[in-house]
């Protein structure tokens, strides 16, 4: 553990971005295969189509029925094209919404895995209301009566990630990233220059330790030295153990209490101050 922390300190945020995007890193389906028995994929949003970038289904996790949701990236070009590089279209989010409501109806906890560069930017996704699809999930997750444990396993990008990420517990792998927009998109928005992505990765505090410090992430799950792809089985087992620990704490709480705590958790995120304080701090500045 000490060695790992040492390694982590030497890596730049941009190095960690590369690890988070490593094609051999375990993806959602690897976690499902490793952690769930009797998994049945449930497909389609019952509105328009089935999105392969956001998968979901029911399965048995340590003996208990759960709903699993997760962005799916590929390990090679062919798989990536099949899964739209992990960028969901509106149908993916609407399928997730359907499965969250399914979870609530049958009292199943929701386990979600975040691994996306962001929602799909295309004409079709805009025409079919990708903004609304994400927005609807946020409100439904705010009110869900069952535990939600979300783990950032690779890349978490923007509202496209958050749409399955309003959770009672947010866990994050050591070399995963989570950002308001991908470093490339952030650099393009901030400085109109996507090649400044390494600067954005640094300035925007997107690593697990940064987000733990900002109290957005509840727990960092350590990775094998060098990254999750070097020991997939150990990584998946560590994620499973962590999820179970949090589920144990959450499942003793009634739905009402879960919702109240989730409300308090998100309601308090983000610092603001009274303007008066600012005036004081500027006059005190050297």
């Amino acid at each position: 553990m000490a060695d790992e922390q040492h390694t982590s300190e030497e890596l730049t945020p941009w190095d960690i971005v590369q690890l988070a995007r490593h094609p051999q890193r375990p993806h959602t389906l690897d976690y499902i295969r490793g952690l769930c028995e009797d998994f049945v994929e449930l497909r389609g949003d019952r509105r328009f189509g089935d999105d392969r970038a956001l998968l979901g289904g029911i399965g048995r996790f340590n003996g208990q029925s759960v709903v699993v949701l997760g962005h799916q990236k590929g390990s090679n070009t062919k798989e990536n094209i099949q899964h739209n590089f992990g960028s969901p279209r509106p149908e993916g989010y609407r399928k997730a919404l359907r499965l969250m409501q399914h979870a609530e109806k049958f009292g199943f906890p929701v386990l979600a895995f975040i691994d996306t560069p962001g929602a799909d930017p295309s004409m079709g996704s805009e025409e079919r209301g990708i903004g609304e699809a994400i927005a609807a999930n946020l409100v439904v997750m705010a009110e869900l009566d069952v535990p939600i444990v979300t783990t950032v396993i690779g890349e978490g990008g923007s509202g496209g990630a958050l749409a399955i990420g309003v959770a009672d517990r947010l866990l994050m792998l050591q070399y995963a990233i989570y950002s308001v927009a991908s470093p490339e998109a952030s650099a393009a928005i901030l400085w109109r220059d996507a090649s400044k992505a390494p600067d954005a990765a640094k300035a925007m505090k997107i690593t697990a330790p940064d987000l733990h410090q900002l109290q957005i992430v509840d727990e960092i799950i350590p990775e094998p030295a060098g990254g999750a792809h070097l020991d997939t089985a150990a990584t998946i087992a560590a994620v499973g153990a962590s999820i179970q620990r949090h589920l144990d704490e959450l499942q003793v709480l009634p739905g009402r209490e879960l919702r109240q705590r989730r409300y308090e958790k998100y309601r308090s995120i983000g610092l603001v101050q009274q303007a008066q304080t600012i005036v004081l701090s500027t006059t005190e500045a050297p």
């Binding site: 990708i130 903004g131 705010a142 400085w191 600067d199 640094k202 998100y266 603001v272």
Partner: protein, 305 residues
């Protein structure tokens, strides 16, 4: 609409002063058709071009003046100010300095104002984003104001109106800004439980994390004509799909056709549309005693109702 100027001396006097340096004093050049319009006519028309009906952007203060019943507005949380929680410095950018400069320029600490007021004598909670402040982007202060507005509406038993023009989440606050999408959503869930409607008015332009949260989860969504609204910006989409987008892409009319919004309302008809909608959720007689016992700040305008 002729009374637009007369009813709103406070904000428009201030605006005209800053415009005196440019010849806008007498003439306004329409950014839609390029024609010169007498400034007074343009102002009286709520900044809508009488020739091409281009809707020029209004400031948050102007929206309050234009839409709310006279003297009904009571601003809340005006002193909420942002914190540079990430210590955001890059070779090209310094958030703390940027905030300071903007505060001096706009006399506002951040990109939204909120409070309570009335439209057509129906009391409501209001939160208006201000595009002039970092493109109306949502950081912790905007998120907090939207959340407080939703909770204020729930607590006081009145509808919520949000007026939304925003580039999306504020990059300089990193993940804290993304989390505002969750924050406003948990607060809006409370409004839903209180069975009070959220009406979202979409303006040109509204994108990203604002479109993908409170602006789109509203019970009723109204947009101004030709307002551009979407999740991904057109530049990003063009770069991704490597082709030009159709001219009407992501306009209010496009959204209406695709079933994403309820109403496209011109600025001229907006007030009556809102008054009608709001009235339908207010079936109890509006009497002076209705809000007795509720939190501060309500009595003063209720008396006028």
């Amino acid at each position: 609409m002729k009374d637009f100027l007369r009813r709103t001396p406070r904000y428009f006097t201030a605006n005209r002063k800053t415009e005196q340096q440019i010849p806008e004093d007498l003439w306004h050049k329409c950014s839609g058709c390029g024609d010169l319009i007498p400034s007074k006519q343009f102002q009286d028309n709520a900044k809508v071009c009488p020739r091409c009906t281009h809707h020029e952007r209004l400031s948050a203060d102007e929206w309050v003046s234009y839409l709310l019943d006279l003297d009904s507005w009571q601003e809340h949380d005006a002193d909420l100010a942002p914190v540079d929680a990430l210590g955001f410095v890059s070779p090209k950018d310094n958030y703390a300095k940027k905030l300071e400069t903007l505060r001096e320029q706009t006399h506002r600490p951040d990109a939204a104002i909120c409070g309570v007021g009335a439209i057509g004598e129906v009391p409501l909670a209001l939160c208006v984003s201000d595009f002039a402040f970092m493109g109306g982007s949502m950081g912790a202060v905007v998120g907090e104001k939207v959340a407080r507005s939703a909770e204020r509406a729930a607590e006081l038993g009145m509808p919520l109106l949000t007026i939304n023009a925003s580039g999306g989440a504020r990059m300089h606050e990193g993940m804290l800004s993304l989390m505002q999408m969750a924050k406003v959503s948990v607060a809006l869930a409370r409004l839903g439980e209180a069975r009070q409607p959220h009406i979202s008015l979409l303006l040109d332009n509204c994108y990203g994390g604002v479109t993908a949260s409170y602006a789109s989860s509203a019970d009723i969504i109204i947009a101004e004509p030709r307002a551009h609204v979407g999740f991904a910006g057109p530049r990003v989409i063009e770069q991704t799909i490597r082709q030009k987008l159709p001219a009407d892409f992501q306009t209010a009319e496009f959204l209406l056709e695709h079933g994403m919004i309820d109403v496209v309302a011109s600025r001229a008809e907006l007030k009556s549309v809102l008054a009608r909608v709001l009235g339908l959720y207010t079936d109890k007689p509006r009497t002076e005693g209705r809000f007795a016992g509720h939190a501060n700040g309500v009595q003063s305008y209720i008396r006028g109702v």
